[in-house]
């Protein structure tokens, strides 16, 4: 694999990791957020 290809591949992996983390955090925040909000408000 040429050096340029290798660099492009690494860059793609970095982008995949970044966007997976971003969307994972958004989804987790939604998921946990809704449940916590619901339970906290209900137990007041």
């Amino acid at each position: 694999m040429a050096a340029a290809d290798l660099e492009a591949s690494h860059e793609q992996r970095r982008r995949v990791r970044r966007s997976a983390l971003l969307w994972g955090l958004i989804a987790a925040a939604f998921y946990v957020g809704f449940i916590v909000l619901a339970v906290v408000r209900g137990t007041k």
Partner: protein, 535 residues
């Protein structure tokens, strides 16, 4: 096993594949996971279909024939849950797994291990859900919408229901993250967003919908759980709660969920109609904007499911008009599909037949949806068989026919063999005729006042119920042709070349049939992309 665990290596360095059970349990290959999703979906389709045929058997004539009312209610509830979460959604995820990497020139999904987890959550979720038939009190019977306070009367099955819904939601969210990350990052160089196939576009938008609304469902069922076990009173009027609040929260999830089940079908139909019309898709960009508009509008129409619970006049007007607004982008799509066929060189192979049936019959479901959007009319239709007829036209002749069209379109690519098209035609015509015999009379029953979710009915509804049940048995039995056709195709279909259909465009048709275990190990060239991306 080493092949699986060393997935970070470039794919072309280990072209061999794992064998035996490890290939499936440790699967990280998008095609294998797609296949497993489709097999799970098919299995659930026949389990949910069995429940449907039992329901139609009970309703064949008045008087209780076979079941007590509680078990009948369990059947309707489980039929809905299994078909929505077990048959339709996993089928689209399976198609996404198979086709998105092939269509965007990527070697695999971006997150293969997450993909494995997303799939393997589901068999446990459905085992848990279906096993609730065998616990004290029986399976959940409060309807797939799980409205309190009725659902809170569920017996030992209640926590099983809640946990299985959580598992399904988690699986969907993980799958959606994977789809977004794959489409955003893994497209071949040169394949810009507006050159992507519409199936990919439809799934990108669907994935955003999933991430937005699945947590809402999780929140709603968690509140049910705490009401049931921890003394909260979210939905109990006696404790200051409000059962109508559940309906608002549920339908804030539930209406986008309808589009989660139909947008990928729009994408599939947008692939098939140009292929068999031998013309580029009419209005590609407007199709993308129409899908995005429908997705946006799906968030602001939820209360049309619950006009009769009572709400301010301004709210009724808002939800009525916003619902009617959806007809505009949907009309754009129907117009564009029709315009694509205009003066085309049409041929009628099974994928096109299912796509045409989709076009006609989904439109009937859309029109009855418009009728239901009109508040004063909805007061009459609410909770009648008219609603049952409406959503089955949307979900059976819409979503399910879309899935079947997709399988008939891409099956030769997956297997490298052409299926028996005569058998496919038989499957289509039997399905198309019986599905109308099954569901069209339900419009009449609803307009005459027959309520849904009842095991018995007044004698004046007998004739159309008999017709509907005969259609149900015919439709159910004719589906047995489908797995037989697939089995026969795999066993003895005629080998085909790269392009199964002469009018097909798209990167998937540039690969051999079946595609190699690791496809697009080097991205497609600009020339290949230009050829594939002709819309």
């Amino acid at each position: 096993m080493a092949e699986v665990l060393t997935h970070d290596e470039p794919h072309d360095e280990h072209a061999d594949k794992p064998h035996g059970w490890r290939r499936w349990v440790y699967a990280t290959n998008h095609k294998d996971i797609g296949t497993m999703y489709l097999i799970l979906s098919g299995t659930m389709f026949f389990i949910g279909g069995t429940a449907a045929m039992l329901i139609r058997a009970e309703l064949f004539k008045p008087g209780l024939q076979f079941f007590d009312p509680q078990f009948f209610n369990s059947l309707t509830t489980m039929h809905g849950l299994i078909m929505i979460f077990g048959a339709i959604m996993p089928a689209f995820v399976g198609l996404a797994n198979w086709m998105i990497p092939l269509q965007i020139g990527a070697p695999d999904m971006a997150l293969p291990r997450l993909n494995n987890l997303s799939f393997w959550i589901l068999p446990f979720a459905f085992t848990l859900l279906i096993s609730s038939f065998f616990v004290p009190g029986g399976a959940p019977a409060g309807g797939w919408t799980m409205y309190p306070p009725l659902v809170l009367q569920t017996g030992a099955a209640f926590p099983m229901l809640i946990f299985s819904v959580h598992l399904m939601g988690a699986s969907s969210i993980l799958g959606a993250i994977n789809v977004i990350v794959t489409i955003v990052n893994m497209r071949a160089p040169g394949l810009s967003l507006l050159r992507m196939p519409l199936f990919v576009w439809s799934w990108l938008i669907t994935a955003y919908l999933l991430i937005a609304v699945m947590p809402v469902l999780a929140g709603a069922v968690t509140m049910l759980l705490t009401d049931h076990f921890f003394g909260t009173t979210f939905f109990t009027a006696a404790g200051g709660g409000d059962p109508v609040m559940f309906q608002h929260i549920f339908w804030f999830f539930g209406h986008p969920e309808v589009y989660i089940m139909i947008l990928p079908a729009f994408g599939i139909i947008s692939e098939i109609i140009p292929t068999f019309s031998r013309k580029p898709l009419f209005g590609y960009e407007s199709m993308v904007y129409a899908i995005a508009s429908i997705a946006f509008l799906s968030f602001i129409v939820w209360a049309h499911h619950m006009f009769t619970v009572g709400m301010p006049l301004a709210a009724q007007l808002f939800f009525m008009l916003s619902t009617m607004l959806i007809a505009v982008p949907t009309g754009v799509k129907v117009f564009n599909w029709t315009a694509t066929m205009w003066k085309g060189s049409l041929s009628y192979e099974p994928p096109m037949l299912f796509a045409l049936a989709f076009l006609f019959l989904f439109t009937i479901g859309g029109f009855s949806g418009l009728m239901l959007a009109i508040v004063p009319a909805d007061y009459q239709y609410q909770d009648t068989y008219f609603v049952v007829a409406h959503f089955h036209y949307v979900l059976v002749t819409g979503a399910l026919f879309g899935i079947m069209a997709g399988v008939y379109y891409w099956l030769p690519k997956w297997t490298g063999r052409m299926y028996d098209q005569t058998l496919g035609n038989w499957h289509f015509w039997l399905s198309a005729i019986f599905v109308n015999v099954l569901f069209f009379p339900q419009h009449f029953l609803g307009l005459a006042g027959m309520p849904r979710r009842i095991p018995d009915y007044a004698v004046q509804f007998t004739d159309w119920n008999m017709v509907s049940s005969i259609g149900g048995f015919g439709f159910g039995l004719s589906q047995l042709l489908f797995p037989y056709l697939i089995w026969k195709c795999i066993r003895s279909g005629q080998p085909i070349g790269n392009r199964a259909w002469e009018g097909a465009h798209g990167l998937e048709w540039e690969l051999p049939s079946p595609p190699p275990f690791h496809s697009w190990t080097t991205p497609p060239s600009n020339a290949v992309i230009a050829r594939g991306a002709e819309h």
